[in-house]
Point group: C2
Chain length 160, copies 2
């Protein structure tokens, strides 16, 4: 479980590093694209990480699982903090939860074959993330972020 968390955190951190010099809104979108890419490439790990496999088990509030969660979202938290420091958007806890839910929900549905009726799930995901960012008051990421992400991801191959 912790190893899977770590691999997802590596994926989001690598995307954030590649977009380190990009505006924070572009970086935030790139991180959510990495989250989707990892989820679609590792659907069983995705389900393992984000659903309770042990009925009644809840991660302790300060335990290692929660630390691992923090790592996954560090790049997003940092981008959000940069944007709100510049006066754009709302990174309060409820809004952050809603943003996470928006892209997490899409990845869960798509990875579990529940969005097979969409013609172009990648475009629908990007549009959904952009709407969610916009609804939270964040600036719209550049139009070519997905193209740049896909090119970078294809170049680096499929890491384990």
């Amino acid at each position: 479980l912790l190893a899977s968390y770590g691999r997802l955190a590596d994926a989001t951190a690598a995307a954030a590093a590649h977009f380190a010099d990009a505006p924070p809104a572009d970086r935030a979108l790139a991180v959510t694209l990495a989250y989707r890419r990892w989820g679609l490439d590792h659907p069983n790990e995705l389900n393992l990480v984000f659903t309770d496999q042990l009925p009644g088990y809840a991660a302790p509030a300060d335990g290692p699982t929660v630390d691992a969660q923090v790592e996954i979202f560090r790049p997003l938290t940092e981008a959000g903090a940069e944007l709100t420091a510049a006066g754009a958007g709302d990174d309060s806890d409820p809004v952050r939860a809603g943003l996470w839910a928006a892209f997490h929900g899409f990845v869960m549905l798509e990875a579990n074959h529940l969005l097979v009726w969409l013609d172009d799930p990648a475009a629908a995901y990007e549009a959904a993330v952009r709407r969610a960012l916009g609804a939270a008051g964040f600036p719209d990421p550049a139009p070519d972020v997905r193209r740049r992400f896909d090119r970078w991801h294809a170049r680096r191959g499929a890491p384990a």
Copy 2:
């Protein structure tokens, strides 16, 4: 699996029926509140219904599982059709997927104890659904929909 789908569909249909005379935006919010309530009350069924338990299994596009999904969302689809017929909002497939993802993702995270850091998850959920509806161009539901839903839900007790 089909029985769990059916119980969730019953829950969303009952909420839609109670809000049958309300404006479609209010009814749509009430249906998402019923979806959350059912998910929090039946977390194991929620995970069973919405994650692939059989690695590599995908529901056939015209099979009974997909019919059951359609039932769950019939009240939302109808509310969306009413609103778009009146000139408000976008109920194209990609936007519908994004809306579903937004509230589904929140319920999945909350039911799996991943939002324990929120002070008031019910309020955060309501706000997230309102932002998602607004970002899709739909009118804002009335301010008291959640209060009316909660009162109705408390009155009818906890059905099996």
